[in-house]
């Protein structure tokens, strides 16, 4: 909408792989990341007007886990909400809260601990007890069903998936050399056609972003800023049997919303850099199509454009294929693009990136799809 007040990302802290050395509780990790985000924005805790978190009870092992998160993130005497549907939904709501005029700033955060005895087991609790609970259906199994559906619909996907995986791992090794290896030996099949080496093991992660209104940013002279110019989010239905897993209609709907707002006509040429949620390389391919970056017929010819030296690099961070803090991978994609546009992507910076695309997906076989278009702000010399 044209009359929506502009919202910018002014602070980012990404912790995609926190060592499980026991030195800090989850609550303490969140507190440290809150301070790091404010420091990145050059702001103080008094500047914090509200908070939205994407928090999942089953991963955290706490009912209403936002209760734990409120104190460390500054929730006391403030307005804090939680969107357990997805970490990235916290970003959407945080931006809407500023656009509504009710707030000038919002802290947005998501995290993913590895304290559960089994994350697949935690995921299986999401199966309804009527029809699906007794099936061995965790999110990796749903992703495998999706991969098979894609190979059936577009034969040759499996080979393309290998190319995508190699590119992502290469990116990951450059971005996080101490954490990610470019070449991982082919592992055993885990859920056919997915191999154990295709999806990295869950790690502990925390991510937070500070959002602010245009007015607040101008008043404080904050720079650099990544401006939100388009947002879209949409959902698929719950039952996998009701979906064509080889397509992503909700992603098309979300992209259409975001591009409409941002005035993007041809997504294929609109962006300098993109981050997509690629729990499997097959999902990466589906995202390229759903986002309007490359139709499936063009995948073999065009994958090169999305490599690190290509016209529009995808996942310079290495993506989920490199580091997999399960529940916050979507919000991390948005944070990575924001850092690219703010010139703060460090070792994996794409020079001169002005317009970026972030894609987040959550839930079984990418049920929830979110698309965010970000643009670099004018750089002002420090006063």
């Amino acid at each position: 909408m044209a009359d929506r007040p502009k919202v910018g990302i002014v602070g980012v802290a990404i912790r995609p792989c926190i060592p499980d050395d026991g030195r800090h509780s989850l609550e303490e990790h969140l507190h440290l990341v809150m301070h790091a985000t404010l420091a990145d924005a050059g702001l103080a805790t008094d500047d914090l007007e509200g908070i939205v978190v994407g928090a999942n009870d089953q991963y955290d092992g706490r009912a209403i886990t936002v209760m734990m998160a409120s104190g460390p993130l500054g929730g006391v005497d403030r307005d804090i909400l939680s969107t357990p549907s997805a970490g990235e939904h916290a970003f959407v709501l945080g931006a809407l809260r500023i656009a509504s005029g009710q707030f000038r700033t919002q802290l947005v955060a998501a995290w993913s601990p590895t304290e559960a005895s089994s994350i697949p087991e935690a995921q299986r609790l999401a199966n309804d007890p009527l029809f699906h609970r007794r099936l061995p259906l965790d999110e990796l199994a749903a992703a495998a069903l999706q991969a098979n559906a894609m190979e059936h619909a577009a034969p040759g996907c499996a080979a393309l998936a290998e190319r995508v995986l190699a590119t992502m791992r290469g990116n990951g090794a450059r971005a996080f050399p101490s954490l990610v290896q470019a070449d991982v030996a082919r592992g055993r099949p885990t859920r056919w056609p997915l191999r154990a080496d295709m999806v990295p093991p869950p790690v502990t992660g925390v991510v937070a972003l500070m959002l602010a209104s245009e007015e607040f940013i101008a008043e404080r002279g904050i720079s650099p800023v990544a401006w939100i110019s388009g947002m879209g989010w949409a959902t698929e239905p719950a039952f996998l049997g009701d979906r064509d897993l080889a397509t992503a209609p909700a992603l098309a709907a979300a992209a259409s919303q975001a591009y409409g707002e941002a005035g993007v006509i041809d997504a294929g040429t609109a962006f300098d850099v993109a981050e997509i949620t690629d729990v499997t390389p097959y999902q990466a391919l589906l995202a390229l199509e759903g986002l309007g970056l490359a139709a499936r017929a063009d995948w073999p010819a065009r994958l090169g454009e999305f490599g690190p030296e290509g016209r529009m690099p995808v996942n310079l961070s290495g993506g989920v294929a490199s580091l997999n803090p399960v529940y916050c991978t979507g919000l991390i994609r948005i944070a990575e693009v924001a850092n690219q546009l703010r010139g703060r992507a460090e070792g994996h910076q794409k020079q001169g990136a002005r317009r970026g695309l972030a894609h987040a997906a959550s839930g079984p076989a990418m049920q929830y799809q979110t698309v965010i278009v970000l643009e670099a702000g004018e750089r002002r010399a420090a006063a």
Partner: protein
């Protein structure tokens, strides 16, 4: 028509990291039967149980302060109903501000006859002085200690 039901149970366990602050607190309880709080430097308040930071000032806490074993009751209740996975009733528990602390620590109350709620509630009234008692065998938990009304 026949309406069916199905019983489902969530079987999943979690291993939560306590972090340095809570770990030190519980080791003192387990090994030395002593309770410590941590001071919020900005407000000066001693937080018991200790937190690494204050959710009020959003600043890190600083020095350790030994508190108790005496204190006063700040809140209590006496439970007469049976709940799954909780002790057999009746039992009393609540919160005590230990001497030297500014916040209250949760724990069971023992040493009070609970059959008559009216009588028991007078013995546990807010402001009542209590002392902390420690179990012989301690595991590093808030159940390693409890509170009893101080001899008057």
């Amino acid at each position: 028509m026949e309406l069916l039901k199905r019983q489902e149970d969530w079987k999943i366990t979690y291993t939560h990291a306590l972090g340095e602050t809570a770990s030190w607190f519980y080791v003192q309880i387990r090994d030395h039967a002593k309770i410590y709080g941590k001071r919020d430097a900005r407000s000066g308040r001693v937080l018991v149980p200790p937190r690494a930071f204050s959710d009020q000032t959003l600043e890190p806490t600083t020095d350790w302060v030994e508190v108790g074993p005496g204190g006063v009751i700040e809140a209590f209740t006496i439970v007469y109903d049976k709940f799954n996975n909780l002790p057999d009733p009746p039992y009393a528990f609540g919160y005590v501000m230990l001497d030297g602390a500014d916040t209250a620590l949760g724990g069971f109350f023992k040493g009070v006859e609970l059959a008559n709620g009216e009588e028991a509630s007078k013995r546990l009234a807010i402001g009542t002085r209590v002392v902390t008692r420690f179990a012989e065998k301690r595991t590093g938990d808030v159940l390693d200690f409890w509170f009893e009304p101080a001899a008057s």
